[in-house]
Amino acid sequence: MHSDYKTKIVGFKDFVFRKSLWVFHFGGASCNNCDIEILDCLTPRHDLERFGIMLVGSIRHADVLLVNGSINMRDRDRLLELYDQAPKPLLVVAIGACGCTGGIFAEGITFAGPVDKIIPVDAYIPGCPPKPEAIIAGVARLAGRKT
């Protein structure tokens, strides 16, 4: 149900994502390192905002959904709900080993599947945690810019 918008509005999508990207950050059952590195991107050394990329407080304002951490059973429904609330088109980025595959927690008893089993994912930024440089490169490349 979530995948058909993609094929229909490719041109529109290109148009939308050429502008500043607003990012919403969803931290699942993570170890925080990914969360901290995402916040770190905003601070003076990395300064993500120079690309017009901004963290926003509500999914309804967002162009990009960053998901990090393994998703446990409790997070799963909330992630789905957020995805439904988000304005489309939406880019979904899975961050970290946990976001991409479940990482070290994939064998855990509460694991509900890596992000791409739950919602469609446009990009993966692997690493445990990925460096801020990698996160910025990933998001900026998604936006079709040269980093």
Partner: protein, 401 residues
């Protein structure tokens, strides 16, 4: 009014070991009750640990919490080494201590930044995090990664800090000391920060004892509990340092304790690298072939308090049972004491003082509960409340905007 407001904080608290959903029940501006829910971050680590070998468990416990990613391996190593009955080489002890203290500096800086952000002092946030970067660079130089250092193993550490790296660490320490001076000056002398944090979220000595709070939270209320002194491990008994305490128990005292603790950490690191220079390079781990059956307890002082690991070994190559208790587990319960009766703007600050994270506030949504008519504030409104409060105080302090 008469209508009760429910403010959820959370559910995702990325900077804690246990992300929670806090519900503040408010009557007008005053918080009347607080409740919390857990489970959003449950990953089944204790169970997972039983399926991993002792070597692998280090990588797992490191990922319990990204900020305390030394404390958990530290405590686990202490527990397993107690079972094995080994004493690690001195060089490994010093290296472990250096890593542990570097972590404390970066964690406290992170806290100062977030607290500043929440007070409406975004400059403090940006500066503190900027000063944190050199610490992460040191980590990268020593361990190869900015976070999750993978330094620990049973019987020692995985990598040596070679002597040729020591001058760089020493230089960085003197730089960091100056930066802490700057931050401490900015926080201690600011009348607005005084007005916002003094007498807010007070925890008395008795409260700390009742709730068994640990770490800086307890030390700010005059209880000198510190595992590094109470149950010495690694190189802490070999170096000179003192436990920082304050008496007031309010948010300001907690900030003060953390800021002053960073000086102690810098001095511990300096003493450790001096000692490292005198020891033989390369002698950093013991070869341990088997872990006998038995039980072991390991404790370590994380930036937020005592981390406790309990390991049962049945003589195989993985733990038979592994129990973990993180400091926030007890510290969180103190919210009932520090928040109830406060205004919302102050309560959120009291929550921050214990050192949870406000990334959570980026994930709140404004919702009206139809059945009860309870209104749920969102993150933006919450921060705005706090910002307005600071602005008012700033106005009255300076006499103008």
């Amino acid at each position: 009014m008469g209508r009760k407001t429910l403010i959820p904080i959370g559910p995702y608290h990325p900077l804690q070991e246990e992300p929670e959903l806090f519900k503040l029940y408010c009557d007008g501006e005053i918080v009347t009750d607080i409740k919390w829910e857990t489970g959003y971050n449950h990953r089944g680590i204790e169970k997972l640990s039983e399926s991993k070998t002792y070597d692998q468990v280090f990588f797992l416990v490191e990922r319990i919490c990204g900020i305390c990613s030394t404390s958990h391996p530290f405590a686990f190593a202490n527990a397993v080494e107690e079972i094995a009955g080994v004493e690690i080489p001195d060089r490994a002890k010093y290296i472990r201590t250096v890593i542990g203290e570097l972590e404390r500096i970066h964690s406290h800086l992170l806290w100062v930044g977030l607290a500043g952000h929440f007070l409406g002092y975004n400059t403090v946030f940006m500066w503190a995090w900027k000063y944190r970067e050199p610490v992460l660079d040191l980590f990268e130089m020593i361990t190869g990664n900015r976070n999750s250092y993978a330094m620990f193993k049973v019987g020692g550490v995985r990598r040596d800090i070679e002597n040729h790296k020591i001058p760089a660490i020493r230089k960085e320490m003197s730089v960091i000391r100056k930066k802490i001076d700057l931050l401490t000056g900015a926080v201690m002398d600011d009348p607005v920060i005084h007005a916002r944090t003094k007498g807010v979220g007070v925890l008395t000595k008795q409260d700390i004892i009742d709730y068994a709070a640990v770490g800086p939270t307890a030390r700010a209320s005059g209880i000198a509990t510190d595992i590094r002194k109470d149950d010495p491990y690694a190189a802490y008994p070999l170096v000179n340092w003192k436990v920082i305490t304050a008496q007031e128990g309010d948010v300001f005292a907690k900030a003060e304790v953390r800021l002053l603790e960073m000086y102690e950490s810098v001095s511990i690191i300096e003493q450790c690298i001096d000692a490292l220079e005198k020891l033989k390079e390369g002698d950093v781990s013991l070869k341990i072939n088997e872990i006998p059956a038995g039980i072991g307890m390991g404790r370590a002082e994380a930036p937020r308090g005592e981390v406790f690991h309990f390991v049962v070994s049945d003589g195989s190559n993985s733990p038979a049972r592994h129990k973990i208790r993180a400091p926030s587990y007890t510290n969180i319960a103190t919210f009932r004491k520090s928040c109830i009766g406060q205004t919302i703007a102050d309560a959120t600050l009291s929550l921050a003082a214990v050192d949870p994270c406000y990334c959570c506030t980026e994930r709140m949504a404004a919702v009206y509960d139809n059945s009860t008519g309870e209104r749920i504030l969102n993150a933006g409104e919450l921060i705005k409340l706090s910002l307005e409060r600071t602005k008012e105080i700033r106005k009255s302090v300076a006499g103008h905007e």
